[in-house]
Amino acid sequence: MTDTAWIDAALTSARPQAVGALLRYFRDLDTAEEAFQNASLRALKSWPQNGPPRDPAAWLIMVGRNAAIDEVRRSRKQQPLPEDDQHISDLDDAEEQLAERLDGSHYRDDILRLLFICCHPELPATQQIALALRIVSGLSVKQIARAFLVSEAAMEQRITRAKARVAEANVPFETPGPVERSERLAAVAAMIYLIFNEGYSASGDTVQARSSLCEEAIRLARLLLRLFPSEPEIMGLTALLLLQHARAASRFNSAGEVILLEDQDRSLWNQNMITEGVALIDKAMRHRRSGAYQIQAAIAALHARAERPEDTDWKQIDLLYGALELAQPSPVVTLNRAVAVSKVRGAEAALEMIEPLASRLSNYFHFFGVRGALLMQLGRNEEARVAFDRAIALANTSAEAAHIRMHLDRLMRDSSPRGATTGK
């Protein structure tokens, strides 16, 4: 790595802790960010000469805090300033003391708070994500704008608006109680999942720009897990993200179209991520405190462990979806379960299962995709065609539509005169 690359990496990894602590001191997001920015600039000057400090986060908090206090003094008194490097020269001792005081529980709540303010319920999902990527991950406005396919100016405005909302919300700065802490944790986990999904649901020409969102979500999930090492749902979340992302290289063809799970080249799956995901879910299960992330991760693990599609343990997946229906009832979960049911008990049983969902999923692309596929399996081609047509009308991406068209083409072939006479 080049000289500045290691500093960049160190700054990125220290950022959540440092900005979180600075936010606790100043109770103002802009001041905290600016302080971190100043500290980072000094790090770029000082670290190449003096080498990296033993605890980069503590160094940045210390320098950032001093810089911000200087700033306040400067604007108040217009007094001559102390020499720039004065603080840095006595840093060794000060850093030692500060590091002592930064006990684990303290910075744990700092980081949690920093993540939590991004999850303000009044903020729409895209603003939550943009804010978290900006202030926690430290991505530039330009990078975030690129991921969301909007102009830099539009993204800048979106983030500014989100920050103003957060400032009005007055998130308490006292150490949270156990109940509050677990509520915050759940909200933050949901937000991290949102970030991941934003990246995961990309297709076509957005795949490249958004895959970094998946990686960022994994980084944040790992961070959260280090802070709360005994929370099975956080293990589940991290496992889920790793297991999903492990398939990234096989999910699209060269034209950017979605490749379904059963058609993916499994040799492209990232085995390191799968191993880590499986290890985490394994560890989570020992707690016997099931939850939606753990169940979804367990399902993903069963897919990841199957060397060939036909090796998939659909029976177990059906059971897990049953558990997920209880933990987090939703027609979409039932729809997913129906796919497993079709493999275990046949298309008829699966179709029966999804019929009651029709009214609630009448605008849901996947409902008609699954329904069409089941009808096709049963040889009810005319009904299948109607379902597929509806699916195409509801497709969110061109890749989704293309995939359904493939089914339709097959139907056309099958129902041509020759196909009809030789049909089973």
Partner: protein, 122 residues
């Protein structure tokens, strides 16, 4: 004399390497390893999964399992085992057996990501 070389680094930092950066480092390491292997001087090499995947068994009576890596600084690393297990529970059972034979201290149980058994060391 056999020597163990224990690798320490900031896992956040290493974890933030891109796939290309990671592969580049592994490739450079492979050059060094191959040279040693040819000389019959390379034993097992392992790359561990992140500490978030770790659990720790405190060898108290009864032994206590806690999530996460071994975080104390008053004890020192004195040895390690590489064992093949179906899952973490099985690994913890092995650790408990070892702990009963040698109480005190702790075992950190960490899944291994990459493992190269290496040749017999001359």
């Amino acid at each position: 004399m056999l020597y163990a070389i224990l690798c320490y680094h900031d896992e956040d930092l290493v974890g933030s390497w891109s796939k290309e950066q990671d592969e580049a480092v592994m490739k450079k390491l492979a050059v060094v390893q191959e040279k040693l292997a040819k000389q019959g001087r390379l034993g097992p090499v392992a790359r561990l999964l992140p500490t978030t995947a770790a659990a720790t068994l405190r060898k108290e009576d009864p032994p206590l399992v806690i999530d996460g890596p071994y975080a104390e600084t008053k004890e020192q690393l004195l040895g390690f085992y590489v064992i093949d297990c179906k899952n973490l529970d099985e690994a913890l059972d092995v650790a408990r057996d070892l702990g009963a034979a040698n109480p005190g201290g702790a075992y950190e149980i960490r899944p291994v990501g990459l493992f190269a058994p290496g040749g017999p060391v001359k």
